[in-house]
Each structure stands twice: as structure tokens, then as C-alpha cells.
């Protein structure tokens, strides 16, 4: 045999050839061919529903592919499952930790299951506990660990028995940026040691760090190879429009109308654009961005390339803009303070989840709450929309105290939950009718409101379909239309676009931008750093307190330093949280 040949096949841990899979007649994966090499982290990248989990389960031998072949270490994962079980570590999205057992008990249990005993067990426990930095917490119940520590423990359990291949399904969901970086460092060191690692994610910024990526969309492989090569191919097409005077949202809207631009997003005070062709710029004058505005080349991102592969982003015009009437504030409501928190506090027993938080939000402003899991941002958010009572302090919306006139206050609110709380077993039309009904619309006005929403969000073809069976992007549209049915002046969004593909996310924000132009005030919680960029102001919540507040650019400026002159939103987030930790220790 040709020695070069063996070397190249040896480097490949998993080989996929024309793999397809269908669930009950629905295609989940379509003709997928790729190689996964040892020694690098391969990113399996795509929005929810792209087929990432299905592919991982196929590789782990938990499903049998409908067509095509999968070779893991030269073996078929289903028929050679027993052999492969010890060589392959698979960490599903919700790793099966036993919450009522301690860290050590969980490890012992998985060691028993994987047949790791005797001296080998003692050695690997010591190694893994040191590796994951969990040695201090061996007696703690797994249920009491933070999201990041749970994932580390899950990783440790998966690594028992020294597998040669590691499959990680969205290991960073629910993990704050600091722990996310730690987890990444650990897995990188494993890959450097020669392990083949497949890391699935829906965050494109996370994928940029991978050695190789498989970019998936709707069950199809859009790209496989190095992310850097893909970003390089976008060279000269990513631009930043800076020094804008006037309304940056409208500038973005105008830019997206230009044929030279395929995608755009807000980035602090600037607007980031992706050009159809390098060098062909939109007409600056037509953007009306002010006399000093200038376009500058910036480094392309993986997201730019992904959107380009999908054929460009949506336009910037939302049909909602024509539909929604401008918000008129009732007499006596201060336009500078339509949402107000004053010394807002919430206690759960001894634990203070929200600790004397203050903010006031203007009419037509997008205010974002950003913070690690368990920092109190959800608690604060829930108090503002009346889902949790206030322990002390005050929460007011449109001048109404949420304690005293809860029902009236809630009539002013549109609310969209993280997981699109729709009735999955009712049809789209029934969902629309229901939400119109509970907000007091009846008869002709209900029919008119529903018809408008169907037209604006293009829901006509789906009216008879169960809401639970909609594609994710349409679920989001439906959830938004249900929240807007009664034309509320205030909109509360709880992590509105997690897991949604970037094109749908752009479209979602174009709707929000349209609403804001009509005077709707938006309060949003988010994990996504680029979602935070859409906010006019951000409140950073940590350990129950608001440790910083200001425009995205202002927060970045706070942490800018000689080594890091142009920090990203994530850098700012991490630096501010660490600064707060240090201050707390000092006092």
C-alpha cells in the first residue's frame, strides 16, 4: 500500500459519504460527505434544526443512517458499536448528570458504566479533576453546580476511558462567556494531543476559532474546510460605516435597499455592511448618514460568509412599519421614562437575586439586559413584565405600577418568551385567534388584526399547520405576531433569537427596528453579543446588581486598553465582570 495513502487515512477519524437521513418522511440530512480529522477541533456549525444533532447521533451509532456510509475509525458505528463505545466520547446537549449525586459520585457512576476500574480509575479521576478544575468541588451535588461547571463535569465523564474521538453537542449553551472560554481552552488542549473533536454550535463567532468547520443549513452541507479560508474569500467585502449622524437604524435600512449591499447589521454607533462585490460601494450620499460618514474595510467574519452562502440577508424594510400605528403616549406619561425601575429588589429567602437596580427607558429605545446565567437578569426582566412580584422598590411601565394595576399594565406589554411559547398542538390560525382574544380583540377587529399579521409575516401558507411543526424561523415570526397583535407600546423579548439562523435573526431585528421607529419601546435580555449591539443601551447585570450601563460603544470604551484598543462586546463583558469580582474581593 502507498504509505502516503495510509498516513492520510490515519489522520481521518470519521469519514462520511453521501449520508442522508429522514425522520418519518422528512429529510433531516441530505447527501452529506465530509472527513473529520484528528488533532483539530472541527466545528459543526448551523442554526437549530440544521441537522447537527442528527449527524452526531449517527456518528455515535445511536441512529442508523437512511442512506450513505459512515466510517468511524474504519468501522461502522452501528454494527461495531461495542468496539467503538470505548473509543468514542459523546456528550449530548443535556448530558445525563445525576443532579442528586455529588461530582465524585457522578464520575464513579460513569467510570463503572465505561468499565474503568482499579488503578486506571484512580489515575484518570486525578487527571480529569485537575484538568477540569473540579477537584475543589468533588463533594458538591451536581445539581448545585453552575452551567459552566456542569458542562465541565459532563466533559470529564465523557473523557473517562480515554476516547480517541470526542463528539460535543452544543457544549456552550447556557454557559457564560468566561466559562465558555475555559471550556474551549480545555478542548483545544485535547485536540492538540491528537484527539479528533467535533464541536457543534449555533454561534458563528465560536465557530471562527475552530480549525475546520462543517457549515450546515437545513440538512445540507454548505461548506467544509477551514473557516479562515472562507473568511479570506470575503476579503474586501466587509465594511464599517462610521461617524454616522442621525438615526443609525434608518441608515441601515437605506443601506440594505442598495443593490451593492447584501447584508447589514448595527454595531454600536456604526453600521456594518457586507458588499455584493468587493470594491463596489453603495452611494454614500443616498445613505444620508451625515457629512462625516465614511466606509472602512474591516476583517470579514464567518457570519458574513455564511449569509453570503445562503444568498444574502433579508432587506431592511419591515412590512410592520407600514402596519403599526405610531405609539402615542397617554397624557401624563413621561416620554423619557416609559419603563422605570427604582431600587428594584427581589429576594428569594436569604438570596438577593436582584439588588437595588435602577434604570429608566425612553420611548422608542431598545434597552438590553446582559449578564451571565444566574446573575439576576431574568429575575429583573420578569419583575418588569409582571411575572414576579417585587420584594421592594418599584417597577413601572407607562406610568402604571406593576404592583397596583397589574392587569392594566400588562395590557400595555407585548411579551415574547425564549422558547416561543406557542400552543404547539394548535394551528397557526388558532394561535393567532387565541392571542388576539385574550388581549380583548373580538369579532371584526380580531379578524382584521389577525389578517394584518398574516399578511405582514407571510403566514398564509401555514395557517392550517400545527404551530409546533413550523420551521424555527416561522415559529419566531408567529411568536412575534402573537405578541404584537394588540399593538402594544412596549415589547419585552427574552433571548429572542437564540438558535435561530443568522438570516432569520437579521429579519427579526429589521422588524424590531421598524417598531422602534414607530415609537415602540423594547426591553430585551440576551446572550448573543451581536444582539447586544442592536441595543441603544445595555445594562450589565452581575450578582444581582447592575455593574455597568451605557451604550454598547461606551461599555467597550470602558475596558479599552493599550493591549486591547478595540475590544469586542464579549471582551467588554468579560473585563467588566472580572473588574467587579476584583472590586468585591478588595472590599
Amino acid at each position: 500500500m502507498n504509505p502516503a495513502m495510509t498516513a492520510s487515512t490515519d489522520a481521518i477519524a470519521i469519514r462520511l459519504q453521501a449520508v442522508s437521513h429522514t425522520f418519518a418522511g422528512r429529510p433531516a440530512l441530505c447527501e452529506l460527505s465530509a472527513d473529520i480529522r484528528r488533532g483539530v477541533i472541527t466545528g459543526l456549525v448551523g442554526p437549530d434544526g440544521a441537522g447537527k444533532t442528527t449527524l452526531m447521533r449517527l456518528m455515535a451509532g445511536l441512529l442508523k443512517a437512511s442512506a450513505g456510509s459512515i466510517c468511524v475509525e474504519g468501522l461502522d458505528p452501528v454494527s461495531a458499536g461495542d468496539t467503538l463505545r470505548l473509543q468514542l466520547g459523546y456528550m449530548p446537549q443535556k448530558f445525563g448528570l445525576y443532579e442528586d449525586l455529588t461530582v465524585l459520585e457522578n464520575l464513579r457512576l460513569y467510570a463503572d458504566l465505561r468499565g474503568v476500574t482499579g488503578q486506571a480509575r484512580a489515575d484518570s479521576f486525578e487527571r480529569l479533576l485537575a484538568f477540569t478544575d473540579l477537584a475543589r468541588f468533588t463533594d458538591r451535588l451536581a445539581g448545585k453546580l453552575s452551567g459552566g461547571m456542569k458542562q465541565k463535569l459532563g466533559l470529564a465523564c465523557t473523557l473517562l476511558g480515554s476516547p480517541r474521538i470526542l463528539l460535543l453537542d452544543e457544549p456552550c449553551v447556557g454557559v457564560d462567556p468566561i466559562s465558555r472560554r475555559e471550556l474551549w481552552r480545555m478542548v483545544s488542549s485535547l485536540a492538540d494531543g491528537g484527539m479528533a473533536v467535533l464541536w457543534s454550535t449555533s454561534y458563528l463567532d465560536e465557530a471562527e476559532l475552530c480549525g475546520e468547520v462543517l457549515l450546515m443549513h437545513e440538512g445540507r452541507l454548505q461548506y467544509s474546510g477551514s473557516p479562515q479560508a472562507l473568511m479570506d474569500s470575503m476579503q474586501g467585502r466587509s465594511m464599517l460605516l462610521q461617524d454616522i449622524v442621525g438615526n443609525r437604524r434608518q441608515v441601515l435600512q437605506r443601506a440594505l435597499r442598495s443593490p451593492a449591499v447584501i447584508d447589514g447589521a448595527l454595531q454600536g454607533h456604526a453600521v456594518r455592511l457586507v458588499l455584493r462585490e468587493a470594491g463596489v460601494l453603495p452611494d454614500l450620499a443616498s445613505l444620508q448618514a451625515g457629512p462625516d460618514a465614511s466606509l472602512q474595510r474591516v476583517k470579514p467574519r464567518l457570519e458574513d460568509a455564511f449569509i453570503d452562502l445562503l444568498g444574502g440577508g433579508p432587506g431592511g424594510d419591515s412590512p410592520l412599519t407600514e402596519h403599526m400605528p405610531p405609539v402615542r403616549l397617554p397624557a401624563g406619561v413621561d416620554a423619557e421614562a416609559v419603563i422605570v425601575a427604582e431600587q428594584l429588589t427581589r429576594r428569594f429567602g436569604d438570596f438577593v437575586a436582584t439588588d437595588h437596580v435602577d434604570f429608566r427607558i425612553r420611548r422608542g429605545e431598545i434597552f438590553g439586559l446582559l449578564g451571565p446565567n444566574g446573575a439576576g437578569k431574568s429575575t429583573t426582566f420578569k419583575m418588569m413584565c409582571g411575572l414576579l412580584p417585587v420584594s421592594s422598590g418599584e417597577a413601572r411601565v407607562m406610568g402604571l405600577d406593576l404592583k397596583k394595576s397589574a392587569s392594566q399594565a400588562r395590557q400595555q406589554i407585548g411579551y415574547m418568551a425564549q422558547k416561543f411559547a406557542l400552543y404547539g398542538n394548535l394551528s397557526v390560525a388558532q394561535n393567532l385567534g387565541f392571542f388576539a382574544g385574550i388581549y380583548g380583540l373580538s369579532g371584526a377587529s380580531q379578524r382584521a388584526a389577525v389578517a394584518d399579521m398574516v399578511r405582514v409575516f407571510g403566514l398564509q401558507p401555514f395557517l392550517a399547520m400545527n404551530a409546533g411543526e413550523l420551521p424555527l424561523g416561522f415559529k419566531q415570526r408567529l411568536a412575534l405576531s402573537c405578541a404584537l397583535m394588540h399593538q402594544p407600546p412596549l415589547l419585552f423579548l427574552d433571548e429572542p433569537t437564540s438558535g435561530v439562523d443568522p438570516v432569520s435573526r437579521r429579519e427579526f431585528w429589521s422588524h424590531i427596528n421598524g417598531l422602534v421607529d414607530k415609537g415602540v419601546t423594547v426591553m430585551v435580555t440576551t446572550h448573543f453579543m451581536d444582539e447586544a449591539e442592536y441595543c441603544d443601551r445595555i445594562g450589565l447585570v452581575y450578582r444581582g446588581r447592575m455593574i455597568a450601563a451605557g451604550t454598547p460603544d461606551a461599555l467597550k470604551t470602558m475596558v479599552a486598553s493599550a493591549e486591547l484598543p478595540d475590544p469586542s462586546m464579549e471582551d467588554a463583558f468579560i473585563a467588566l465582570v472580572e473588574r467587579d469580582d476584583r472590586q468585591r474581593e478588595a472590599t
Binding site: 400588562r410 418568551a417 404547539g424 385567534g433
Partner: protein, 365 residues
């Protein structure tokens, strides 16, 4: 106001009726129980064994034994030879009823004196055994009446009023009306609210202008509606398929079904207020259902229970409702007769609903 409530009820009905699965889940238990229950849960005393310890051996006693053996109720008669054996056949469930005839039976009868015979019944199967005892008593009394040469001045005729032939279906089917509606109603209230919690739609309701009262009413009314429809189906089947006589009024039946539905909904909402997912709600419903049926008097007469259990039975809505339904079917109950059972139902409903409302406020706040 009404329109929002209507929207909530419509949503609940749509969710129940939209998918074939949930439609089946509503109707399948009704049909299945209707087909199986009247046959499987036999309380009838046909095919049961009678044991006789005849210490007399005279002509009269032999005739009495033959008469007992001739009834449909006791196709098998075990002849015993000692007092211990009597104990044993009951202990081993070989006989439902054991009768001991005294040595001087024939002599005393001939002399026209009264005779005491002993009967031992199996209290473990108390409902069936009491019916069997009733049969045997009838036979013995008739026999005695014929034998005593001078006719007694007045003769006591035992006749089972309301169910003269002791047809067990007459007893089972009205009770079934009560038992099956219990399942349907709890499913709609307890499980559907837990499901909304799991899917996050509950929060969506809480941020709407709906007050907790509305949300609860939106769950309670569909639950009552389901109980009503299921109950009516079984009642209709009882009358037209199984030919159980219906001697009361339909109006009263519906009113009492609604009262019963309300008390169930109270328990259902209480269970859902205590549970945070469907699994807990399911277990909770089950934990309510089993004792509710066992202590309802359907399996064993409430009067035979020890005092603590009788007290529990008093707050069991099923025990009251079974009395009402049987009354309406067999005894021609009017409102006045039903009221002593109706007000406890309403009282149970009021307290469970109030408790559920408080829990609801505490949990949503």
C-alpha cells in the same frame, strides 16, 4: 370579559379535539370501561359457593338445603361436617357464605317453635356477601313461613326496594357514570395546566391582562364540560344499551354532574398548582383517584369502614356523587333527596377551589 373567557375555553376545546390522539384519549377510556366494566367488575352473587353445616339431618333441614341449592345464586353447595370447617371455607375463600343449621331444627319446626340458624359471611367481599346473605335469608324465611303450621299474624317480606332482583348492572353502571367522569375531568384540568407550565405558554398567559381568576376559570369550565359530556354518554348507554331503569329527571342529573365536575376541578387545579410538570400532575391525579374510588363506597359499603376512613370518605366527592347518581337512576331522587349529597359537593368544590386559587397566586407570584 365574557369574550376573554370564551377565548380561553375555545382554546382548550381546540387543543382537546384537534389531534386524533387527544380525541381518542377522551373517548377511548369511556368506551373501554363501558364495554369491560359491567362484565369484569362483577358484584353479582351468581356462581358463588354456599357452605352448609347441617347438624340436624332431619327431613326439614334436608329440604331447606335443597331449596338453597336450587337458587340461581348458589350453583355449588359445600356440605361441611364441623364448626372448624366452617371457619376454614370462609378463610380460604372457598365459600362466600356459610350457614350452620342447629341439631334441633326439624324438631323445633315441627313443634312450631322458632329456630336460630347461624350464618357466617366473608367480610372481605362484603358487598357481594351481603347480597348473597340477602338471598339466603329470603329462602330461609320463606321456608320457615311455609313450615309453621299456624300462619303468623303478619309476615315480614324482604324485598330489595329499587333493585328488586339485585341486578348487579343496575348497581355498577350508575357508579361508572361517576368514576369515568373523574378520569376525564382530572386529565383536562390537572394535566393541561402542567403542560402549559412545561411549554412556557403559562408565562405567556400570566403576562397577558388575564387575571389568575380568568386563567383558572378557563381551565375549570372545559373540565366540567368534558365531565358532563362523558357522564351523559355513559348515562345514555346505561339506559339504552344496558337497560338500567332511569327513574329521576335528566335536569337533576345534569345539575349534579356540574356540581360534581366543579368539585373535581377544584382537586384538579389543586394538583396542578402543586406540581411543576406533567409527570407530577399525572402521579398526583393517580394519588387522588385510587383512594377516591376505593373509599367511595363502590367497592365496599362506607358504613362498614372504620371511623377515620368514613371521615375521609365524607370529603371524597365521588362517594357523594355515587349516591346521587344511583338515587337518580334507581330511586327516583328529586332535588330534595339529592340535596343532602349536593351541598357537600359544593362545599368541597368551594374549599378546593379557594385553596387552589391561593396556591396559584403564591406560585405565580
Amino acid at each position: 370579559m365574557w369574550q376573554r373567557l370564551f377565548t380561553l375555553i375555545r382554546k382548550e376545546m381546540q387543543a382537546l379535539l384537534r389531534s386524533p390522539q387527544s380525541r381518542r384519549l377522551l373517548i377511548a377510556p369511556v368506551l373501554l370501561q363501558l364495554l369491560l366494566f359491567p362484565f369484569a367488575a362483577t358484584l353479582e352473587v351468581k356462581n358463588s359457593t354456599l357452605a352448609v353445616f347441617n347438624q340436624d339431618g332431619g327431613a326439614a333441614s334436608i329440604e331447606l338445603v335443597q331449596r338453597l341449592a336450587a337458587t340461581q345464586a348458589f350453583p355449588q353447595v359445600l356440605m361441611l361436617h364441623s364448626q372448624q370447617e366452617m371457619q376454614q371455607v370462609i378463610d380460604r375463600q372457598q365459600a362466600l357464605l356459610a350457614i350452620s343449621l342447629p341439631q334441633d331444627l326439624s324438631r323445633k319446626l315441627a313443634a312450631g317453635q322458632s329456630v336460630a340458624a347461624q350464618a357466617i359471611i366473608d367480610g372481605r367481599r362484603s358487598n357481594s356477601a351481603q347480597i348473597a346473605y340477602g338471598y339466603a335469608l329470603q329462602v330461609i324465611q320463606q321456608f320457615a313461613a311455609e313450615r309453621s303450621h299456624q300462619l303468623p299474624p303478619a309476615r315480614l317480606v324482604v324485598q330489595n326496594l329499587y333493585n328488586p332482583n339485585l341486578e348487579y348492572r343496575w348497581f355498577v353502571l350508575p357508579s361508572l357514570v361517576a368514576i369515568i367522569t373523574t378520569i376525564g375531568c382530572l386529565m383536562v384540568t390537572a394535566l393541561s395546566l402542567a403542560r402549559e407550565r412545561e411549554e412556557g405558554t403559562f408565562e405567556q398567559l400570566l403576562v397577558s391582562p388575564l387575571t389568575p381568576g380568568y386563567i383558572m376559570a378557563g381551565k375549570a369550565l372545559p373540565g366540567m364540560l368534558v365531565a358532563l359530556v362523558q357522564g351523559c354518554i355513559i348515562a345514555a348507554a346505561a339506559v339504552w344499551v344496558y337497560h338500567v331503569p332511569f327513574s329521576g329527571t335528566v335536569g337533576l342529573l345534569i345539575v349534579s354532574m356540574l356540581c360534581y365536575g366543579l368539585s373535581l376541578v377544584g382537586f384538579g387545579l389543586l394538583i396542578s398548582a402543586l406540581s411543576s410538570n406533567q409527570q407530577q400532575a399525572f402521579l398526583g391525579s393517580f394519588a387522588f383517584m385510587s383512594p377516591a374510588v376505593i373509599l367511595s363506597g363502590y367497592m365496599a359499603p362506607v358504613e362498614n369502614m372504620p371511623l377515620p376512613l368514613r371521615l375521609v370518605s365524607a370529603v371524597d366527592p365521588l362517594s357523594h356523587f355515587i349516591i346521587i347518581v344511583k338515587g337518580i337512576f334507581l330511586k327516583g331522587y328529586g332535588f330534595a333527596e339529592a340535596w343532602p349529597q349536593l351541598w357537600p359537593l359544593l362545599a368541597i368544590a368551594a374549599s378546593t377551589l379557594a385553596l387552589a386559587y391561593l396556591m396559584f397566586l403564591r406560585r405565580s407570584h
